[in-house]
Symmetry: D2
Subunit: 242 residues, 4 copies
Amino acid sequence: MEKIKVTVWNEEREGEDRWQPVQEMYPQGLHSVIADALNKESDITARAALLSDEEQGLTESVLDNTDVLIWWAHGRHADVEDRFAQRVAEYVQRGMGVIFLHSAHRSKPFMRLLGTDGYLCWRDEGERERLWVSDPSHPIAAGLPESFSLEHEEMYGEPFGIPQPEATVFIGWYEGGNVFRSGVTFRRQCGKIFYFQPGHETNETFYNPHIQRVIANAVRWAKPEIRVPARGCPCVERLEKR
Amino acid sequence: MEKIKVTVWNEEREGEDRWQPVQEMYPQGLHSVIADALNKESDITARAALLSDEEQGLTESVLDNTDVLIWWAHGRHADVEDRFAQRVAEYVQRGMGVIFLHSAHRSKPFMRLLGTDGYLCWRDEGERERLWVSDPSHPIAAGLPESFSLEHEEMYGEPFGIPQPEATVFIGWYEGGNVFRSGVTFRRQCGKIFYFQPGHETNETFYNPHIQRVIANAVRWAKPEIRVPARGCPCVERLEKR
Amino acid sequence: MEKIKVTVWNEEREGEDRWQPVQEMYPQGLHSVIADALNKESDITARAALLSDEEQGLTESVLDNTDVLIWWAHGRHADVEDRFAQRVAEYVQRGMGVIFLHSAHRSKPFMRLLGTDGYLCWRDEGERERLWVSDPSHPIAAGLPESFSLEHEEMYGEPFGIPQPEATVFIGWYEGGNVFRSGVTFRRQCGKIFYFQPGHETNETFYNPHIQRVIANAVRWAKPEIRVPARGCPCVERLEKR
Amino acid sequence: MEKIKVTVWNEEREGEDRWQPVQEMYPQGLHSVIADALNKESDITARAALLSDEEQGLTESVLDNTDVLIWWAHGRHADVEDRFAQRVAEYVQRGMGVIFLHSAHRSKPFMRLLGTDGYLCWRDEGERERLWVSDPSHPIAAGLPESFSLEHEEMYGEPFGIPQPEATVFIGWYEGGNVFRSGVTFRRQCGKIFYFQPGHETNETFYNPHIQRVIANAVRWAKPEIRVPARGCPCVERLEKR
């Protein structure tokens, strides 16, 4: 059986100096931690792509060889060129799965695919979050406990500017009094989309086994059912004649 | 303009001795507090119906004269006869609006209309709840602040056994660490359905102006667009001929 | 790998005399044709259950050993006892998949799970139907052409009394001028539901390879992700303490 | 009561020579026919905006004074500047209603708001279409018969590249054997969206009283519940403290 091919995209640039707290938490970049965890799964193979790569890491060759794209970005959404954001959206519409992590709610591909601006309120105090599984039979929740907690996360709070999801898999509770639809799914034509809120760059989130489990589950869920080529709207003949 | 006709159904029986804490909180029954608040709205007229009324308060005459039915019950779901539960479901399918309050998530009409069992976890410790508006432009949230709190409510927690809602208007946060989709809407054929979690019988919830506002908004939202008669599936002729 | 266990339920009674046109089309009963086709799939094992079986073919033992229940019925909906209809609904809510065929849109389990009355208009003139795949990447449409036709089917027409589906996989065109959402999916807690319109008892529908393909696809799609036991709403302790 | 302010946007340019068949069918432009019909409604006031107007007819001043934008375009989607398409999308997200007519399924604002490419198949033979009301209690279907026909329309057929709609109000039947979800609704944050398939520029569609009724109903349905200002994601303080 062929492995599911994952590309973990990070807004980082090759060789750049990371901000000290990020450097300490993720010395090789958080894309490496995400990819390493996925590569321990027998049915998944993951590699990284960076903003500094050719065509911002989003060449047609990369996307043609990607079953599921994972997108992490926080501060450089505007640096992504429109043409590459559009390319990602079209690949998803034509079958590629995509997982948007954390602050990817403001990335160009997220907004192009959902049609909303990803509005939310936030607070970066490393507060306690508890994630509840609100859809226990969803494949993305497989093997998880009813709820689990993260000692430190950036708070993202409602109202969340998304369309009504196909499924609401996780809802988050924060000690400061906020709630958030932390794990939600959508479909756009042939492509499946999962947004997952945890993953601030100075928190230990991506080392958490529950988080790693969610991401691996989501990869399996989001892998393409079919992929269709780029095409226009065809003119067709009558099938039924009087 | 004709007023919206509301019937507030309560599982209480006329003249019964209430349990002391309920008697103290709602001396005239909580249905009276709900109806009184609605009757202050210029476009709504509300009356009560009780389990001890003729045909358990659910005669065809009552329902024919009801635009929106409000259902409150906690301990006597099993006492409602199947034929009346089914009657309520059919009236909703044919256009009558319905608002299920609090523990009505386990009432027969709720389960018949949603097709799920209303599963949830709970804790009756009168803990603090904060309600977040997750769909700020929904008519049921009109005039409300971003969030508001109730000092004492029974906790109802995820996972909530409902189908994916048409809209998720409120999400609740509890000090004990739980979350809940506290205000959700559904449609079943011609009828609109709103479920709202607050309203434990020993808490002051129904005196809260925000809660009263939600219920009045929901009444306006749920009023029938059309009402259709009881009918079978008709046999029809061809409209297009070769 | 364990096979998916399918039970094909038919309202027929063991040994009964079938109406002549049905006898000619399906001499062993249409449940046999459906089950035989499924048994040719290497990953599925199917058996039949009839109305005349013990507990109307719906014992707990049968349902415990059923991953996906297929329900065909046309004229005897009222003969199914409420307690067994309710049992089926609960098994679905707890994880069992279900496929409702043709006139099962008026069966008790369908109405209990969807919360609507399955209203539609109809015409039994064996007219031409063309089925369009409206959701080409849905697993239930795998391997099917863009559209395919049935020479003779009973017309079922809009408006169809169902909630908005999770996915609209097929839409039917009839030569007499009607349309119908012929293949639609729903979820109810842990259980997946597929309704499929073709399958009139005097038409050759269940011998059609495309129809057999749809049913086999739907079985694979509807097989349980998880199954949960019967349970009440649990009282739980605080997870977060001040 | 204040009237609902409608702007009918057309890709036409002021003073241009129309293609002869369009000139004959809509001598003043089809935007005029649409606006004139709306202006006969006592609660609506409509005006036109053209591609040749200042900022392509989409100045902030125009949009600030628009409750519901109607968008008709067929051949010049690419001429609309990205910044104005994005502006329209943002106005919708912040509350403005929008109605996309006919070939607007390939317009930039449609694709930005839905996140799909609007794929469909088509045939311009002026064939007979019958529109079925599949959601009879939806406000957009108010006052319409069960179905009605158009003698000549361009065929748009499934599969339609849209997300699963909030409501499927109309489904179209074509004599050539195709079907289409001809009237579908969506929400994107505060804004309501209606797509309606009829309206080819050489057909008499916009003179049809049923079509005019649908558009007027859709205007009333899509008018803003609230409008919110442009804003970023706010940083907020804790509401609950230990």
